[in-house]
């Protein structure tokens, strides 16, 4: 996006956000839809003009045919026939042009509105604190942005148009038939309730049936995917016949589900044709008698039969709306629910912009409790601590002792329940988040890489970095060796859709990414996975380079890391139970000594 365009998008989104938030109560969903379409109201208006014009023109052939017969052919007036043909071609041209305009505009407006909605949800998600993500499965959030927006898509682009077009066609046809002949029209209308109810029943039944077929085909695709990813296991245990049987069973399920739709379709569509034939018969019988008696012009008969289609198609289309409408509204509900979530970490208006930090960290009586489904769970209690600039602190303790909570509070993923955390003497809550985070590097345990090149992933820490700087960072942490061996070096695609890197290699890239950001404070969750024998030493070396000259808090798992830390903090049940340098703690023969013995035994086993 160019800057100007980005700015316009931003203003538009701001406007939509205000309107979406402003709506509430009954009719909210409709208001929400209108708020989404509002920025494009002139196009929406043009679309409706085209829609009405096109629908009106598409109704013309039946009355024109009737007129041609009654005013031209029967009395033998050739010029009337000529005029009708001209009118006929003109109406066809109008339908052509209007349908083109309407289809194009609907697509444009619908897609733009959805694009806005996607950006809106994305922005909203970004504004949410990390705790928000921990409480919700990723799949649910992804589904809001994909399935739910898609469900809205069919509502906005198809259903709205169908609703108006089909209703107009139906009303127009009813009007035309009434003008042709009231009695005959009323007889034809008898079919209406039968058709409407039948169609609705069919749609509801087949919506169910199609849901079943989608589920069963999903199961088949999933099974196929799994068999392919697990082919090695299948092969090793020689279980091919079993998989073939299971696959057959899934296919059978799918066939059964599909068979239901076959039954429904085999019943419904021929029945509609049959009702239409019956209508023709009724019109011919009753209208024919009237025409013979001279009460009815013969062109009306032809006009009636020609107009019947305009009567049946819209009923079928309208009945189809029911299911898309329901799905769309349910999706809108869920999207609103998401957009209504407020971030609980709000930045103060007068938040402080931090200068370059020295890197002193101070915890003052910090207590933190997670809110869970059933009350709260204490994770950290009365932690008091000062870390001078440049010191490396290793956090050790059993699982659940509070090590990662400590790190998360420092990164301000959460705010403490009690007490405060200061960096260079400033409370984290008074700081502009972006100015804090740009000076704080976080290396998580499982190094997450984005799909993109190696260079892009390292540069993620500082997008304006030059190629030379990226290379230098990679060299500094010792990642240059394996990068050079990749197929395209620094331009190799990694992440989900690229080359699979080993845990150790990912870790080294995460180091380089953190290094290039040049943070003053580093929070590092050491990986526990055992990496390749040869990578092990490299990672240690890379970490040493990364830590030099920075304040660092490490959730440590490796003996070598722990031993090299300036200070070791032992956490137990959310409290600091011991702290000091390695040698001091070993002499003290306390909790650390006991922990250390376990590790040493394990390493020697």
């Amino acid at each position: 996006m160019s800057t100007g365009e980005a700015k316009r998008t931003e203003t538009r989104l701001e406007d939509v956000r205000r309107r979406l938030r402003g709506t509430s109560g009954r009719g909210r969903k409709l208001k929400g839809l209108i708020a989404l379409l509002r920025p494009y109201r002139s196009r929406v208006a043009a679309m409706f003009v085209a829609l009405v014009l096109g629908t009106a023109a598409s109704l013309a052939p039946a009355p024109l045919a009737k007129h041609a017969i009654d005013a031209g052919i029967v009395p033998g007036d050739v010029s009337t026939v000529n005029w009708v043909v001209v009118a006929f071609v003109i109406s066809a041209l109008i339908v052509w042009g209007a349908t083109f305009a309407q289809t194009y505009l609907t697509g444009w407006v619908g897609q733009r509105a959805l694009q806005d909605l996607r950006l809106q949800i994305f922005r909203h998600l970004q504004s949410m604190p990390v705790g928000f993500y921990e409480r919700r499965p990723a799949g649910v959030l992804i589904s809001r942005m994909t399935n739910d927006v898609e469900a809205l898509n069919s509502l906005v682009t198809d259903s709205v148009v169908t609703l108006f077009q089909a209703s107009l066609t139906l009303l127009g046809t009813i009007a035309i038939l009434l003008v042709f002949d009231v009695e005959l029209a009323l007889i034809t209308f008898c079919i209406l309730p039968v058709m409407a109810l039948g169609s609705l029943a069919f749609r509801i039944a087949s919506a169910d049936a199609y849901k079943r077929t989608r589920e069963t085909i999903g199961a088949i695709t999933g099974y196929l995917q799994e068999s392919l990813s697990g082919i090695r296991v299948v092969r090793s245990f020689a279980q091919e016949p079993r998989h073939r049987r299971r696959f057959h069973a899934l296919n059978d399920d799918n066939r059964d589900a599909n068979m239901k739709t076959v039954y429904l379709n085999a019943g419904y569509f021929p029945a509609v044709e049959f009702v239409s034939a019956l209508a023709t018969v009724a019109i011919l019988l009753i209208g024919g008698k009237q025409a013979i008696d001279g009460q009815l012009e013969i062109g009306v008969l032809v006009g009636f039969i020609a107009a019947l289609n305009g009567f049946f198609d819209p009923i079928g289309q309208l009945s189809q709306l029911y299911t898309t409408y329901q799905a769309g509204m349910a999706a809108l509900d869920k999207i609103f629910e998401l957009l209504d979530e407020e971030s609980d970490l709000v930045e103060a208006e007068d938040a402080i912009e931090l200068d370059r930090l020295r890197g002193e960290i101070r915890f003052e009586d910090v207590t933190f409790a997670y809110s869970t489904a059933d009350g709260t769970k204490l994770a950290l209690a009365d932690v008091d601590l000062v870390v001078p600039p440049g010191q490396t602190v290793a956090l050790v303790g059993a699982t659940g002792a509070g090590k990662s909570t400590f790190a998360k509070l420092l990164a301000r993923f959460y705010d403490p329940t009690e007490g405060r955390i200061l960096v260079d003497g400033v409370d984290l809550r008074d700081v502009r988040a972006s100015s804090l985070r740009s000076q704080m590097g976080i290396v998580p345990q499982e190094a997450f890489l984005f799909s993109g090149t190696v260079e892009e992933n390292i540069g993620f820490g500082r997008p304006e970095a030059t190629h030379e700087e990226v290379v230098a960072a990679a060299e500094a942490v010792g990642a240059d060796g394996f990068i050079a061996a990749l197929p395209d070096g620094f331009d190799t695609e990694v992440g989900e859709r690229g080359v699979q890197l080993s845990a150790g290699q990912r870790q080294l890239l995460a180091f380089a990414r953190a290094l290039i950001a040049d943070p003053r404070i580093l929070i590092l969750d050491e990986a526990t996975s055992n990496v390749d024998l040869h990578s092990e030493g490299k990672i240690e070396e890379g970490m040493r380079r990364l830590l030099a000259g920075r304040t660092a808090v490490i959730i440590a798992h490796r003996l070598s890391t722990i031993r090299q830390a300036g200070r070791i903090i032992v956490l137990d049940g959310g409290r600091i139970s011991e702290q000091g340098a390695h040698d001091e703690l070993m002499e003290a023969r306390g909790a650390y000594w006991a922990l250390y013995r376990d590790w040493a035994e394990q390493a020697a086993a």
């Binding site: 052939p61 041609a68 066809a92 970004q126 392919l228 296991v233 029945a271 034939a277 024998l533 030493g537």
Partner: protein
């Protein structure tokens, strides 16, 4: 065309049903075509003032309607079940074929691409064979029968008013060909947007910690923008073709009004014939469009079919002689005789001239850098690959001469990242023995106990019935590994293959896994791909691999003496081990 004929071959088992549905369709279409003709006759009788004939003709229309109803219902039921049958056959054929292909095939293919063959291409084919073909035949029949009726009524006017038909079919076919790929491309863009969302949600900590929200928002904006552009391409196609296809037949109607109207005034045509003509053309609007679209479908199905046949024609490279004997009884001795392995398409050997004799019951540790051939060596035993040269013997027979499933059930592997199926824990453990209900719970539990997995399984929400794997509960690396060890227990193999690169396990779990391994290894020939000294210590002998060659083979003590490489690995690879020996106080706590 050859592909097209082969595709039709899938219908062969349903010959009778296909013929039946064609006959039914033809008869039903005759009914459809009769109705406008009868309507025309009614108009004429009305003009003549003959009300008795009108009643009779109206009854005839009703009868035609009823016949058509019955015939169409029957036709739809038969054709529907044929199309579902073809779909099932096709899918199972592809699946069965994939399962039969050798591992080397899967190494070179991305799962995504295979999935695309097995879903997108297969769908194009089955849509065409299942529905497209019927639509095509039915539409063509309707057009032909209606055209015949129109020509019978008035050849000249029929010729004029049918002029738009080929154009409509041609344009609709073009649309069918271009529209669908455009929609698929839109789906692709949606998938990209989804991937972008996924990444930002999974990587939210990284994004936040580097304060890169703006940049990520821009990236997402770009992805959404690309989706918009592609959706508009699809919309433009739709906006152009749909009304255009609707417009062309209107010209035919105009021709009927203009010329037909004059003919009626001249008295050379009856008003009823005129009305019948008009109705025929209205009736043909749908079939014309449908014929075009199904022709487009046929083209795509042929292209997809070609890709599918490419897959189906790929013969498995690892085949066994028919009636090969089962693996003879034995206790699991292994011998490699001058084995060389080069993967298809690779530029260098994965293994070169490896000879190795492992007596039954021994534990062998394989040591070497990534890519030195450890994994390749063990993959030869269950015959996941055939060696390029040399032979692999298990209990004295060449693995190529025995029935593969008997060989494979004598060997079990526990990977470093074990793959679990989306099924219950019970089924995953019982997998080795046919899975599910064939294996009693007691046996599964016993295996889990020996694998040190019983305790954590007991704590899962539904115990042994908890669903795990991709679409179930996510187990930790250590838990997965213990389930895999339990699976190996139950398989009761002669030969066991282990990869000890356990990830993310804490100290106590580590101990449990070790205990489980010791238990499962007892009395079996075991190959361990070793990543740490503690595992190497479990082995009777050690094989050091370097660039696919056997660099050294012997006991720990022997190798320390003769192999520089081994010494280096021991020294450099295990820093924790190194510092343990440095300070007295630490020696003490380590119990050394």
């Amino acid at each position: 065309m050859a592909t097209f004929r082969r595709l039709l071959g899938f219908l062969r088992p349903y010959r009778r049903e296909v013929v039946a549905s064609l006959v039914l369709a033809t008869l039903a279409m005759a009914g459809t075509v009769a109705i406008p003709w009868l309507t025309g006759r009614v108009i004429d009788r009305v003009r003549a003032g003959d009300s008795a004939d009108v009643t009779m003709l109206a009854v005839a229309i009703a009868v035609a309607g009823i016949l058509r109803l019955a015939l169409t219902v029957a036709r739809r039921l038969i054709a529907g079940s044929v199309s579902l049958g073809v779909e099932l056959d096709l899918r199972e054929r592809v699946y069965g074929h994939l399962l039969g292909l050798e591992m080397g095939f899967f190494d070179r293919q991305q799962t995504g691409q295979l999935m695309s063959r097995a879903t997108v291409d297969l769908q194009a084919v089955r849509f065409f064979l299942g529905y497209g073909l019927i639509f095509m035949v039915q539409s063509a029949l309707t057009i032909l029968l209606a055209a015949a009726a129109m020509i019978a009524l008035d050849p000249g006017l029929a010729g004029l008013s049918l002029i738009p038909v080929p154009f409509v079919v041609f344009v609709a076919a073009r649309y069918g060909r271009r529209g669908r790929p455009a929609i698929q491309e839109v789906q692709q863009r949606i998938a990209e947007v989804t991937a972008e969302v996924e990444e930002n949600i999974s990587g939210v900590r990284v994004v936040k910690s580097f304060a890169r929200e703006e940049r990520q928002f821009e990236r997402f904006g770009d992805a959404v923008g690309r989706l918009f552009d592609q959706a508009m391409i699809s919309t433009r196609l739709q906006a152009f073709y749909n009304p255009f296809i609707g417009f062309l037949p209107q010209l035919g109607l105009a021709a009927i009004l203009f010329f037909g109207g004059r003919r009626v005034i001249d008295g050379t045509m009856s008003l009823g014939d005129f009305a019948a003509f008009y109705t025929y053309l209205l009736m043909l609007l749908g079939p014309m469009r449908m014929l075009g679209i199904s022709l487009g479908m046929a083209q795509r199905a042929t292209a997809s079919g070609a890709r599918l046949f490419e897959l189906l024609d790929r013969t498995p490279r690892i085949v066994t002689k028919p009636l090969a004997p089962a693996l003879p009884a034995g206790s699991g001795s292994v011998e490699l005789r001058d084995v060389t392995l080069r993967y298809e398409g690779a530029s260098r050997d994965a293994l070169t001239g490896v000879s190795l004799v492992v007596p039954a019951g021994r534990t062998v540790a394989l040591v070497g850098a990534t890519g030195s051939g450890k994994t390749s060596l063990v993959a030869l035993l269950p015959r996941l690959y055939d060696p390029t040269a040399g032979e692999v013997l298990v209990d004295g027979v060449d693995v190529r001469d025995v029935e593969p499933s008997s060989l494979r059930s004598a060997i079990a592997a526990v990977d470093d990242a074990p793959f679990l199926f989306s099924a219950s824990v019970h089924e995953n453990i019982a997998y080795a023995r046919g899975g599910g209900d064939d294996v009693p719970r007691e046996e599964v539990e016993q295996a889990a106990r020996r694998a040190q997995a019983h305790d954590f399984i007991g704590r899962l929400p539904e115990g042994y019935d908890t669903r795990v794997g991709e679409r179930g509960l996510t187990l930790s690396g250590g838990q997965r590994q213990r389930v895999a060890i339990a699976r190996a227990f139950l398989a009761d193999p002669r030969i066991l293959i282990l990869d000890d690169a356990t990830s993310s396990v804490d100290a106590s779990t580590e101990q449990r896994i070790k205990a489980a391994l010791r238990e499962v290894m007892a009395g079996r020939t075991t190959f361990v791909i070793a990543h740490r000294l503690s595992t190497i210590a479990l082995a009777d002998e050690i094989v050091v691999l370097e660039d696919g060659r056997l660099a050294a083979h012997g006991t720990h003590a022997e190798l320390l003496e003769v192999s520089d490489l081994y010494r280096e690995i021991v020294a450099k690879g295990l820093p924790d081990q190194v510092f343990l020996t440095r300070k007295p106080v630490e020696r003490e706590v380590a119990g050394l």
